[in-house]
């Protein structure tokens, strides 16, 4: 099992130093919303944007601060399933930290525990053993409703199958998390977020009128509308062609650069995983390898 070595800064109590909610930390520092042309162009080009700095151009939430403290701290995570008399050790002692402003890719064959791990990190499931802190909140032992409370507004989700509500328009799908959080819905803000994913002109369309790539970008916009600290993407390119998959990862890189978001993504695609800051490989519920991706050195600074 491999775990990331913690720097002194990492050992700070995230409950007091970590961003409980990204907007809490970033709010004061974010510049006003600006045009999404830069990001849109980058996404349309299917490549990584040239600008990786923190100037904040392109996304309506504004630019990032450089708070690299861990937003996810996992220690000794264990998750077992019982299938009849058989016990499946889906996760068997995983340590992992994920920081703001970094992308962690999780690789591994089917059944290696990728989805189990990501379910735990995203508070959709609870570990049988080990400790987990997400966005500054200890979540070990919490029940379903308490886990929901941790997720709400702090974690954005992108899934392989998009999971847009077919009855709602693109804009309404994007606004859905705000509805549940009882946040005021500002259509102008929604359009800005959609502009950032180059879908402003599709706001009133229904999901069935979109391509797969477009639907996944709507899912990204939905994940970002509440300005979460963490973006969890489970096989987000699984239903996309190569160009759209690369465009999506470019979008992730852009969000990290501009928003200081922490992104955890599972994928089977080594090429795409290379774009992450760190690549974790799982086998049989354990981390067997940790590598640095192409983003290393540019964005991750140990100890924040």
């Amino acid at each position: 099992m491999t775990s990331q070595q913690s720097s002194p800064a990492d050992s700070r109590d995230p409950a007091t130093t970590g961003p409980a909610h990204r907007s809490d930390v970033l709010e004061a520092a974010l510049p006003p919303a600006v045009s999404g042309a830069t990001l849109s162009s980058a996404v349309a080009a299917g490549g990584v944007p040239a600008s990786t700095g923190g100037s904040g151009a392109g996304f309506p939430h504004g630019g990032p601060t450089v708070d690299r403290s861990p937003v996810i701290i996992a220690r000794g995570l264990v998750r077992h399933y019982h299938r009849g008399s058989e016990t499946v050790r889906a996760l068997d002692g995983v340590d992992l930290d994920v920081r703001s402003g970094e992308m962690v890719a999780i690789l591994g064959p089917s059944g290696s525990g990728k989805t189990t791990l990501i379910n735990l990190l995203s508070c959709l499931d609870a570990p049988d053993a080990g400790t987990l802190t997400v966005a500054g909140r200890p979540v070990t032992g919490l029940g379903e409703e308490a886990l929901t409370a941790v997720r709400r507004g702090r974690i954005g989700f992108v899934f392989q199958k998009f999971h847009l509500l077919p009855a709602l328009t693109v804009a309404e799908n994007v606004e859905l998390p705000q509805l549940f959080l009882e946040q005021p819905i500002d259509r102008a803000h929604t359009l800005e977020v959609l502009r950032a994913v180059d879908l402003e002109n599709r706001a009133t369309h229904l999901p069935r009128e979109l391509s797969g790539g477009q639907m996944q970008r709507v899912a990204v916009a939905r994940a970002l509308i509440t300005r979460p600290a963490i973006l969890i993407a489970d096989e987000p390119t699984g239903n996309l062609d190569r160009a759209n998959g690369e465009a999506l990862f470019a979008l992730f890189r852009r969000l990290i650069a501009q928003e200081g978001l922490a992104v955890v993504v599972t994928t089977h695609n080594h090429h795409l995983a290379e774009q992450a800051d760190r690549i974790i490989t799982l086998e049989d519920g354990r981390i067997v390898r940790e590598e640095r991706g192409c983003g290393v050195g540019e964005r991750v600074t140990e100890g924040g």
């Binding site: 499931d125 379903e144 929901t148 997720r151 199958k161 999971h163 549940f180």
Partner: protein
């Protein structure tokens, strides 16, 4: 966008299924509203009809009280007769305020109209003593308007003059001065005889059985039917009407052979109980329809929940609590039931006349005027009932949906 709008959008996304479910509830509500409206309207109609008979007690030949009741109100068939001597004896009763002899007969006619037990078309003829009859019913006046001007009562012994009730005149398309043929089979003969009568007046609408009756002098009616010494009904108004006085009156005259004394209160009770039997059966059908509709709603929403397991999972993943999901699904059920309730109310209002016609075909309601009274109170009650059904029907599907664990729901939805 609030939860209710979200619920409506979800329903609108499956228009056929939603429409069918709403229609199911709508039909059940329409049946229930019509039934309650019929119950109310019928009672009002019976009360109006009987109160406007003008007399409190009637004497008639012994027989089935149901038949007697409907005969009195509508004419009916299988008429039985009293001897005139009964009238002569009863009119000497010291407690009488007024008394009137009536001879009811049925005339055959061509074309449509009321039909007797053999299916023949007929019209109700009522031979009356004009003076005493009007003492009982002082509100009878002649209709005005084109074709009805100059209406008057027939001369007491006129052999060929009739006064028509409002509805029968409209149905037969007769004006004052027109000819009206009545075909009757006199007692003792087998061949019907046709008589040419002249319409001398058309009565204003009363909302009672009088609207469907053709009036003619008592003596003429008895002559046409060759029953010179018989009556059908003797209408009586007592000086003081009470249970005690009625029983005393009944005791005095029940001794006469072949005579039964029927109070209007008895008639009301008889008619209402007659119809209540039919209503109980219809109510049972309505209850079954509502149960089936509610099961249909629960089934539809459960199917929807199963189909949308993935959606529900994703909603929970992105922040929806159990309460949020419960509300959304519950509101969907409520919206279906309220929609069905509205549809049912509109359907019942529009279909009230059709329902009434069907009821009149199915049972001898024995009342004139509208017998379906759908009031705002009934409609509000129906909507409230539909909402209550929605609240009840939505509980289980909403609970099922709210209980889904997001991780499993998303997996099942894929």
């Amino acid at each position: 966008m609030g939860y209710f709008r979200l619920a409506l959008r979800n329903l609108a996304h499956r228009p056929l299924r939603t429409a069918l479910t709403v229609t199911g509830i709508g039909l059940a509500v329409a049946v229930a509203v019509s039934l309650i409206g019929f119950n109310l309207g019928y009672r009002q109609s019976i009360h109006t009809s009987i109160d406007k008979l003008g007399f409190q007690v009637m004497l008639m030949a012994k027989g089935c009280p149901y038949e007697a009741a409907t005969m009195m109100l509508k004419g009916g068939t299988g008429l039985l007769y009293l001897p005139t001597s009964t009238f002569d004896e009863v009119k000497m009763d010291p407690e009488l305020a007024a008394i009137t002899p009536i001879f009811v007969g049925l005339a055959q006619k061509e074309g449509g109209g009321l039909r007797d037990d053999e299916g023949g078309a007929f019209v109700v003829l009522s031979g009356i003593d004009q003076a005493s009859f009007l003492t009982m019913k002082p509100w009878l006046t002649f209709a005005e308007g084109p074709g009805r001007e100059g209406g008057r009562w027939f001369a007491p012994e006129a052999a060929n003059e009739v006064v028509m009730g409002f509805e029968v005149a409209e149905y037969e398309q007769r004006k004052v001065g027109d000819t009206f043929y009545v075909t009757v089979t006199p007692q003792g003969q087998t061949e019907p005889q046709t008589h040419e009568m002249k319409v001398v007046g058309i009565l204003d609408r009363t909302g009672t059985q009088d609207d469907g009756t053709v009036f003619l002098p008592l003596s003429t009616a008895r002559r046409l039917f060759n029953r010179p010494d018989e009556l059908t009904i003797v209408g009586v108004k007592l000086k003081e009407f009470s249970g005690v006085r009625l029983r005393e009156f009944e005791k005095r005259w029940a001794k006469l052979p072949e005579v039964q004394v029927v109070s209007l209160q008895q008639v009301k009770t008889t008619l209402v109980s007659l119809v209540e039997t039919a209503q109980t059966m219809i109510a049972a059908v309505a209850v079954v329809a509502i149960i089936v509709a509610v099961i249909g709603v629960i089934n539809t929403i459960l199917m929807s929940v199963v189909e949308r397991t993935g959606e529900i999972g994703i909603m929970k993943a992105i922040g929806a609590t159990r309460g949020d999901i419960f509300q959304i699904i519950w509101l969907e059920t409520l919206a279906i039931c309220l929609g069905g309730g509205l549809l049912g109310c509109v359907g019942a209002l529009l279909g009230a006349r059709a329902v009434e016609a069907a009821l009149r075909l199915l049972i001898d309601v024995g009342a004139h005027g509208s017998i379906v009274a759908i009031t705002p109170g009934i409609l509000l009650g129906a909507l409230g009932g539909a909402a209550a059904l929605g609240v009840f029907a939505g509980l289980y599907p909403a609970w099922r949906a709210a209980s889904l664990r997001p991780i499993e729901a998303i997996r099942e939805g894929e």
